[in-house]
């Protein structure tokens, strides 16, 4: 049942994405930046999805600490991994856009820097999980760390913005204007990315649960 739901979700997301992509290809190039401007249709929706993933991870972690139901732990790790993948997509698309527009792959722009810090934060969440053997302890410690990370996200975003506004910087939207009639495609892509993220999380969730079952069976086999 759950498998089917995942497939359906995945197919809907893919269909939406393909359909939207065909439309976006059909749109005229943006006046100042040319074709590369269209990367925004992906760059921003994946960022939204990644941010949502952080939030879901925090909620799942808190719920695990309260209920001790391992489903929430599995959800936390699944959604964090998917969120990291989306954040990586965000960083890569940003980098490609930067190369085309500014001529450089990376700049310590406010958004890039905060995205990178968040990426490193959540990557260390996964590393922490890997290094704790005992499942209950791993789940508790990871949940506490995830909550610490989530608290940091707004502080990081705010402080880096503050840090960078005191430096001359290429203004992100300079030369770019977003035509109003393009908006629906943008929001469709947000929806598609969210659905895709949800489908990936569900797949990863099942994987995580099987992993845990396997671990317990091994423990059982070796215990006595």
């Amino acid at each position: 049942m759950r498998d089917k739901a995942v497939y359906v979700l995945g197919i809907i997301a893919a269909a939406l994405l393909v359909n939207d992509m065909l439309h976006i290809i059909g749109l005229p190039d943006e006046k100042m930046q040319g074709a590369v401007f269209k990367i925004i249709f992906f760059h921003v929706p994946v960022a939204f999805t990644a941010l949502t993933a952080c939030g879901v991870s925090m909620i799942a972690s808190a719920l695990f600490l309260i209920t001790r139901n391992f489903l929430f732990d599995a959800l936390a790790v699944a959604v964090t991994e998917v969120g990291l993948a989306f954040l990586a997509a965000n960083l890569v698309t940003g980098s490609i856009w930067g190369r085309e527009t500014w001529g450089i792959w990376w700049t310590w722009d406010a958004r890039l820097t905060s995205a990178l810090i968040c990426w490193v934060l959540y990557a260390s969440y996964l590393m922490l999980r890997k290094s704790i053997e005992e499942p209950t302890q791993r789940a508790i410690f990871a949940a506490v760390f995830s909550i610490f990370c989530f608290i940091d996200v707004p502080i990081v975003i705010f402080s880096i913005k503050w840090w960078r506004t005191q430096h001359p910087q290429p203004v992100f939207w300079a030369g770019g204007s977003f035509p109003a009639d393009w908006a629906p495609y943008f929001w469709f892509n947000v929806l598609a990315m969210m659905l895709l993220g949800a489908a990936m999380t569900l797949v990863r969730l099942r994987d995580e649960e099987s992993q845990r079952e396997l671990e317990s069976l091994r423990r059982m086999a070796n215990a006595y």
């Binding site: 001790r68 391992f70 005992e134 499942p135 209950t136 845990r212 079952e213 671990e215 317990s216 423990r219 059982m220 215990a223 006595y224």
Partner: protein, 232 residues
Amino acid sequence: MSAVAVEGVWKFYGDFPALRDIHLEAAAGSCLALIGRNGAGKTTLLRTIAGFSRPMRGKIRILGNEPRDLEARRRLGFIGHGISVYDELSAMENLTLYARLYGLREPRKSAMTWLERTGLDRVRDGLVREFSRGMRQRLAVARAFLHDPQVLLLDEPFTALDDRAIALLQDLLRDALRAGKTVVMSTHQLREALDLATHVALLVRGKIGFLGERTAEMLEDPGFVYARYGEA
């Protein structure tokens, strides 16, 4: 009211049930010996009763309180696998530290009393790092008894002890039982433990295989419970 009550406790490592539906009671003045093979869940059970980790399901009461309740902590003494005293501090400093944490009114005096009772008063200012193994173990015993606990939880208390420490601990436990205190200990040293025990619980794969009074035949043949109720 029983001093230690365990009602339907389950404990999991991931999905693996380390403790399954444990029911236990120990009345004041009784000594319960927990026996079982390695990995049967003795340490897990004892640590859960002591409040080092929470049970997934079920309830534990120490003198009517939750194990994490400060009132329960104050009346609980625990000896685990480690001696829980600091190598860099002296015997006296270690005991006064714990006396202060337990809120004893005269920390130094209580510490001194227990140093004398464990025969460590001569080396009170020596660093634990420099102590012999037997002395360290006696200090661990002093640490656990320092705050005059009503309930004593001991995890394999006799395993690492030398003769003198075993004799000391047995005397202290006898005194404690006579004074109406409660002892729960896990052990492999059946002879030493059964000698003190009034009750015996056998853990088999995280479940209680046997729970009852210690009988005379157990003393004669310490393997009796295993043979009768354990797995082959």
